[in-house]
């Protein structure tokens, strides 16, 4: 026992040192990342960036290194700064040769974010399906929650804490009739009443088939989405942007990014963009004309400028990341919500 | 008679402070042995090594032929231990603690314990933590006697006891040990009690054993000699003459040597030895004579 206890003691010492020492050194040494905020300018047809310098000044530049005043910079991103320009009375009639109104610009713009920790996490197991066509202007949270089982969908009345067998049966039958095979692999929705409209959920079934599920006037609406030949989807992100032009962003098993466009459930590849949602975080700043896609990878922060019309690649930019960290043991990570040992 | 305790070549230090080196002694069966020494000579260290709560730097101790570091429970059952300060579980009552210990010792003598407890003016349900220091000591001693062990190791057994109970305990312990052939190894600050109790003594000085012998022999043969002598006389020392000193015209020293021999050695050193007297001593005086006053 003495030998075991001694071994165990030294094992603990080792674990604690591997955990705490690198952490302390990294905490003292590693400075925060300073990649500039970057967007694609439809005026310059190039990336422009805002950088916070070390002496707390703000620099406005383009990729070529030209410096701008704050005011001049606003004009380089007329769609992103549409409200500011309108307030200044400087909002242009047309951008890149295309006539625009403030309202158009506002409706088309969106910001989308995805972080690995939102995917790599214990599944909540319960979801909320809102009524998409209640006839009311405001959305409301439902009085039931649902879970997906190996055999179907189950609605639980929350006040009674009891399964609503009738509703569960209706929805399960509809899903089955549309060809959905349980268990469902992944689903994506934004269960919140604080949005302009509701598109329910997107489901990826046991065979990798894509389904759109929502509730309209209490009845199930299920649409099987036809996938292009050979497309194996991995992750789904229901968007519900104001413009209603997209229903979702999708990634496939080769980490390519696709858009599910509406109306018509068309699937279009976003040219050139690769994105592994389980490892990388992504931000898309969308305007009427183009999207700036920023993927935060392990070795570089990659920027893609993408046409908002046909999702063709306009330009790319990459900031290499040189993180000098001492490897060590840790139990939590910024890229997931699990507690487990990991050495990195 | 085979020894119950055998200590061989014990060496121990605390940090750089050496307590003793190469200390060896035996305690024979059926004897009551007192370990005497001034503060800091290593009495408690010896008791701690003997009770298994201190690993000596080198050397070994055997009790009933077993190494003290690896005593079997069966052998430990034959040893009763009174630890420094008469410590016992303070969270128990007189009854609870008796019930607890009784489960471990097949030869448990319940009557001995309650016999002694009757002399305490405490309720059986009273917790030991609420007792006076002396009462706690009596509980601890009662438990030691009830255990009916073959070897009793008692560290400073008389601490905190009033004179009456001390006398009672000494008589009880001696009678008990002699009647049942128990071996006792003990220390005490009060040497008068030891005289009544112990058969043998080990007197320790810093780092070594001065004498180990039956108390009777010590009291018979160890003498204090005094004689008139000039204040500036150089008294002989060493070789069996302990702590020679001259105070106000009288020389004094202690020795196991006979009066004739001491006188011869003094005269040889040119000390006139007028008014030469020799006296035997009680244990306390003999102890001081051997170890010096300070």
């Amino acid at each position: 026992m003495t030998r075991f206890a001694k071994l165990f003691f030294w094992f603990l010492v080792l674990v604690l040192l591997l955990w705490q020492l690198p952490w302390a050194v990294n905490y003292l040494l590693v400075q925060s990342r300073n990649t500039p905020f970057t967007l694609y300018s439809e005026v310059l047809d190039d990336f422009v960036m805002i950088r916070h310098t070390s002496d707390k000044e703000v620099e406005y530049r383009d990729r070529a290194g030209n410096e701008y005043t704050r005011r001049a910079f606003d004009s380089l991103l007329p769609l992103f700064y549409a409200r500011q320009l309108t307030a200044d009375g400087r909002f242009p009639d047309s951008v890149a040769g295309r006539p625009v109104t403030l309202r158009e610009a506002q409706i088309a713009s969106f910001i989308f974010r995805s972080a690995p920790k939102d995917l790599n996490r214990p599944a909540p197991g319960l979801h909320f399906l809102l009524e998409s066509m209640s006839g009311r202007v405001d959305l409301a949270m439902p009085s039931d929650a649902f879970r997906l089982t190996g055999r179907g969908i189950e609605f639980i009345d929350m006040a009674a804490n009891r399964i609503d067998t009738a509703k569960s049966g209706r929805f399960t039958r509809m899903l089955l009739r549309k060809g959905c095979r349980f268990p469902v692999r992944e689903l994506s929705g934004n269960p919140s009443a604080r949005k302009e409209y509701d598109e329910g959920y997107l489901l990826l079934d046991a065979d990798g088939g894509l389904f759109h599920l929502k509730m309209m006037q209490g009845r199930p609406y299920v649409r099987a989405v036809e996938l292009p030949e050979g497309l194996r989807l991995r992750h789904l992100f229901l968007t519900e942007f104001r413009s209603r032009r997209t229903l979702a962003f999708l990634t496939d098993e080769s980490h390519r990014l696709h858009v599910l466009t509406m109306p018509g459930y068309g699937i279009r590849r976003v040219e050139g963009v690769t994105f592994d949602p389980e490892r990388e975080s992504m931000t898309i700043v969308g305007t009427l004309l183009d999207w700036t896609v920023c993927v935060d990878g392990a070795s570089a922060e990659r920027y893609y400028a993408v046409s908002a019309d046909d999702f063709s690649l306009l330009d790319t930019l990459s900031y290499p990341l040189s993180e000098r960290r001492i490897p060590g043991l840790s139990f939590t990570s910024s890229s997931d919500r699990y507690v487990k040992p990991r050495f990195r | 008679m085979e020894p119950v305790i055998e200590c061989r070549h014990l060496t121990h230090c605390y940090g750089r402070r050496k307590i003793y080196e190469d200390l060896s002694f035996d305690v024979p069966r059926g004897r009551i042995l007192g370990l005497l020494g001034k503060n800091g000579t290593g009495k408690t260290t010896t008791i701690n090594i003997l009770s298994g709560y201190l690993e000596p730097r080198s050397g070994e101790c055997l009790i009933f032929g077993e190494n003290i570091r690896t005593l079997t429970p069966q052998t430990r059952r034959r040893i009763a231990l009174l630890i420094e300060g008469h410590v016992q579980y303070q969270f128990m009552t007189i009854e609870q603690i008796e019930r607890f210990y009784a489960a471990f010792y097949p030869a448990w003598n319940r009557d001995a314990y309650y016999g002694l407890m009757e002399k305490l003016q405490v309720a059986p349900g009273q917790r030991i933590s609420r007792m006076s220091c002396g009462q706690r000591s009596q509980v601890a001693l009662g438990l030691i006697l009830a255990q009916n062990a073959d070897l009793l190791v008692l560290d400073d057994f008389s601490m905190g006891l009033d004179p009456g109970y001390r006398r009672l305990f000494v008589e009880y312990l001696r009678e008990f040990a002699k009647a049942e052939g128990k071996t006792v190894f003990l220390t005490s600050h009060i040497i008068q009690d030891m005289e009544r109790l112990i058969d043998d003594c080990i007197i320790m000085d810093y780092g070594r054993i001065l004498v180990q012998m039956p108390v009777g022999d010590l009291l018979r043969t160890f003498r204090r000699y005094s004689f008139r002598c000039p204040d500036d006389a150089r008294l002989p020392s060493g070789e069996g003459l302990y702590h020679p000193a001259v105070v106000r015209g009288r020389g004094e020293l202690c020795s196991f040597a006979s009066p004739e021999e001491v006188r011869f050695r003094l005269e040889e050193a040119g000390i006139p030895c007028e008014g030469f007297t020799a006296e035997t001593l009680n244990l306390e005086d003999a102890f001081i004579g051997l170890t010096g006053k300070y």
Binding site: T2, K6, F8, P122, I156 | G52, L81, V87, F100, F104
Partner: protein, 223 residues
Amino acid sequence: MWKALLYKEWIKTRWYLLLALLVTLGFAGYALLKLHRAVALMGAGHIWEVMVTRQAVFIDQMQYVPLLAGLALAAVQYLPEMHRKCLKLTLHLPVPALATLGVMLAFGVAVLAVLFGLGIALLAAGARPVLAPELVGNILHAALPWYLAGVAGYLLGAWTILEPTWKRRILCLLMSVLLLRLFFLAPVPRAYGGFLAVLALLSLCAASLSWLSVVRFMAGRQD
């Protein structure tokens, strides 16, 4: 003999155990009361939504209660042993020292298991009428590492208290604090997954550390 060893632990801890039972069940009961009140006031729908979308578990106030219960049990059991080195008496009993220590630690772990088992049962039984099994599971999974921290805290506390020297005791304390942090890292319920089993195993292995302290005690280590 074994019964007598347990009897001693029982005498030391019985009043504390009553208190610990009242406090741990009290906190769990209070959390449940708050949950039921919230359901009554705001409707089950709102509570379910908060639990699903914001990972609320409604029992955060009892987070450190099992840990404190475990640490206090270690104190109640082992401080009297270290008081004036009473442990010498315990180790002198005619029982192998390892077995004596094992009985003492097993008593503590068993008592905590009963105490925490009751707490978990109360949480499960109390929450089930108003919450779906998934949400009850969230609550229990959030509470499980905390309860385990109670057991680990007890064993690490025993190790620290039984250690005879202060220098080493401070090391024990430092290591214990860091190790116990491991039980309070969950950003969301169910975050521990399979690692909880590993933690449970490590916690039980921590019982062996107390033996190191006892070995050092028997060797007479001092400051």
